[in-house]
């Protein structure tokens, strides 16, 4: 399952605080949701942290976000590792990402690479279309004849090809958009749009969403039995 973390700016604006404090408040929610997902037995969790379009935000806000993410990653690295969570960062291709942050991302991936408890994919500097274009490029480079390309062989060229299709996407703050998020993987996903803003989103909201999804699930069919770390068939 996946979360689009929306509403930090509005959360801050409602309190007459600078936008940056909304991002800061989001940290608590992130940790809360990770814990709740792990306890509820979710094996694959993706969080949409920063899109390729977010670079258009004012440079002071972007700089602040970079510093904040670095602090958060470092602060919670040991905890995530101790919880048996495998962390991965999807995207992270732009040269504007500070090298120190990229190093921390790589370190966290190295540190937790052997964990099998839950896989946490953080989409940072991510764009769904860009991933598809990259997969197409890699496919062409590998010289596969056009007739041999099907959905499964195409998906094998996406970044982190072992990521299963997303079953449920939660987008907070009531906005109902996809915003270029993991386009390939959300093809059959159920979407939920709780009105609560991301900094106010808590474990209880998360469990409510999961419950709603299970209700819907009863109508739409079974859960795909993917195992952590296993390649797609």
């Amino acid at each position: 399952m996946a979360c689009v973390m929306d509403g930090n700016g509005r959360w801050a604006a409602r309190r007459s605080l600078p936008r940056t404090s909304g991002h800061r408040a989001a940290e608590t929610t992130v940790i809360d949701v990770i814990e709740a997902a792990r306890t509820a037995g979710v094996e694959w969790l993706s969080l949409y942290a920063f899109s390729t379009e977010n670079w258009r935000r004012p440079s002071t806000e972007v700089d602040f976000l970079m510093r904040l993410v670095r602090r958060v990653v470092r602060k919670h690295a040991a905890l995530l590792h101790a919880r048996g969570i495998r962390c991965r960062f999807l995207g992270v291709a732009d040269p504007r990402i500070p090298p120190a942050l990229a190093r921390d991302f790589a370190d966290l991936m190295t540190l937790t690479g052997e964990n099998r408890g839950m896989t946490l994919t953080v989409a940072f500097d991510h764009g769904g279309r860009r991933d598809i274009v990259a997969a197409a490029r890699s496919l062409i480079r590998s010289g596969v004849p056009a007739e041999a390309v099907d959905e499964r062989s195409f998906a094998a060229h996406l970044p982190f090809p072992d990521t299963p299709d997303v079953d449920l996407v939660i987008r907070t703050s009531g906005e109902q958009r996809i915003s270029n998020f993991m386009l390939w993987q959300v093809a059959y996903a159920e979407w939920l749009f709780p009105p609560v803003l991301w900094p106010d989103f808590r474990a209880t909201h998360f469990l409510e969403c999961l419950h709603t999804y299970r209700q819907r699930d009863r109508r739409f069919g079974g859960v795909t039995p993917y195992t952590n770390g296993e390649r797609r068939p």
């Binding site: 470092r74 690295a77 040269p95 090298p99 190093r103 370190d107 190295t110 540190l111």
Partner: protein, 491 residues
């Protein structure tokens, strides 16, 4: 066994020995020592004895990068010894030729105007002698003296090493029995309290820079060094020959002898560790490993390295962040002129930019690319041209070298035609197949890592223009984080 080598005094140029009993490769005494942790203490001791020789000392002080870049130097030494003592004769021949070309460039005069020359056979014999004697002493000090036959065998191996380097081993006495008077005579008559020796004993140990892997942890490193640095100094001094300690005026600390023997004994106990835990080349590789490089061997060296990598990642992640930079301070990606001078240009760490600094850069690059003639000379010539340009432009007080302030005052004139020439030649020698593009394998040979994601063009090669531009950006301090950092700036 060893008699075969002893029976042909003065002509150990035949590296396989007379009876087919090989002096190099698996099964040699050297091989056994190479992974012995005590050998680290022995090599430090040997280096101090080397440096106490006036000619070696002068060459080290003038040319060596060991003060500013000790880990890189250590790695290069280990690789070189492995090649020289390995089983492959062709590898040994190439390495000997490379060392000879390298040493032929190291000559000059010391502060008292006495000439030195790294090709002087007597000097080279002394370097080999210190290694042999320190290995023997290491065994004695840790309470397990070598058997006479083992000692003779080891001596034969070191003589063969000298022979592979010099063509013959005549400068070293033919037998161990004759070796000791020779050794005692040099210690008594030739060794001095040289500057190089003082630098090693008192400056290097106390100011040892962190290895690249631990660069994110300055406080941890400083705390460990504050304890280990002086200790290593005391242990080394106490293990030096008594007559030399007396003549050089080295301090006698109470308990130092017991401490020294305890250290040798204690380190010797590490041999009870499971085999494979302590392998010299793995350790030095690890220490010299740049944290963000992607050495292909990293994948194959196995579980230990993986665990170390994860531990390193954890340690880096847990290390406290430096204080937030002032957002008004401007572009932090630039290196200041002083910083560039200290980290990159002043390779020998003496506070001045001089020809040996640039020669050290050429040496490092030539070593990495494993260059042969005439490419090696082309590279040195390009660096020499750059040195003339720098000297002409920057040496305002005319003392023949460039100081930090002189450099900082004249940074803009740095990117002259000779520096561009260096970049061009560097491109040519890196482009091994001469197709005017640097592909991933050529890139890896120079930088020991794959293409950076922002460097790789559509066809994953690196063109001349971009290469020259990036090199100039690094040398002008415009780009702080670059693949040149592990090559030239890291310790």
């Amino acid at each position: 066994m060893t008699e075969t080598a002893r029976n042909e005094p003065g002509s150990t140029g035949d590296t396989s020995g007379a009876g087919g009993d090989r002096l190099f490769g698996p099964g040699s005494r050297f091989e056994a020592f190479f992974n012995d942790p005590r050998w680290a203490l022995a090599v430090v001791r040997a280096t101090v004895l080397e440096a106490a020789h006036p000619q070696v000392g002068a060459a080290l002080v003038d040319n060596s990068v060991f003060v500013a870049h000790p880990w890189r130097r250590l790695r290069n030494t280990v690789v070189s010894l492995q090649r020289m003592f390995g089983a492959d004769d062709e590898v040994r021949r190439r390495e000997a030729a490379r060392l000879n070309r390298l040493h032929a460039r190291l000559r000059g005069t010391d502060t008292r105007e006495r000439p030195y020359d790294a090709m002087d056979p007597a000097v080279r014999a002394w370097v080999v002698a210190t290694l042999f004697e320190s290995s023997v002493t290491m065994c004695r000090l840790s309470g397990q003296p070598l058997e006479q036959t083992d000692m003779e065998r080891l001596y034969a191996e070191f003589r063969a090493y000298l022979a592979a380097l010099d063509g013959d081993a005549r400068q070293l006495p033919a037998t161990v029995r004759e070796f000791w008077p020779y050794y005692d005579r040099v210690v008594e008559e030739e060794l001095e309290n040289t500057e190089a020796m003082r630098v090693i004993l008192y400056r290097l140990f106390d100011h040892l820079p962190a290895p690249p892997l631990l660069q994110g942890l300055p406080t941890l490193w400083a705390a460990g060094r504050a304890l280990a640095g002086p200790l290593l100094g005391v242990v080394t001094v106490a293990s030096l020959p008594e007559p030399f300690r007396r003549r050089a005026g080295l301090p006698e600390l109470p308990g130092a002898q017991a401490l020294m023997q305890g250290a040798y004994l204690g380190v010797g106990l590490a041999r009870f560790l499971p085999s494979g835990w302590l392998r010299t080349e793995v350790l030095t590789e690890l220490l010299a490993l740049s944290p963000d490089g992607d050495d292909p061997r990293a994948r194959t060296i196995g579980a230990l390295r993986d665990r170390m990598k994860r531990a390193g990642a954890l340690v880096r992640l847990l290390a406290p962040l430096p204080p937030e930079p002032d957002p008004d301070a401007g572009d932090t990606a630039r290196r200041s002129a002083e910083e560039l001078f200290a980290a990159v240009l002043d390779q020998t760490g003496d506070g001045y930019l001089d020809w040996p600094d640039l020669a050290a850069m050429a040496r490092e690059i030539a070593g990495r690319l494993d260059l042969d003639e005439p490419e090696e000379t082309r590279l040195y010539d390009a660096f020499a041209g750059w040195w003339r340009e720098l000297q002409a432009a920057l040496d305002t007080d005319g003392d023949g070298r460039v100081s930090g302030p002189e450099y900082a005052a004249a940074v803009p004139s740095l990117a002259g035609p000779a520096l561009i020439r260096v970049a061009e030649v560097l491109f040519d020698v890196t482009d091994a197949d001469g197709d005017q593009r640097i592909d991933a394998a050529e890139y890896r040979a120079l930088f020991r890592r794959g293409f950076r994601r922002d460097r790789a063009g559509s066809d994953d090669t690196y063109a001349r223009g971009a290469f020259v531009r990036d090199f100039l950006a690094f040398m002008a301090g415009r780009e702080r984080s670059s693949p040149y950092d592990p090559l030239l700036a890291d310790a």
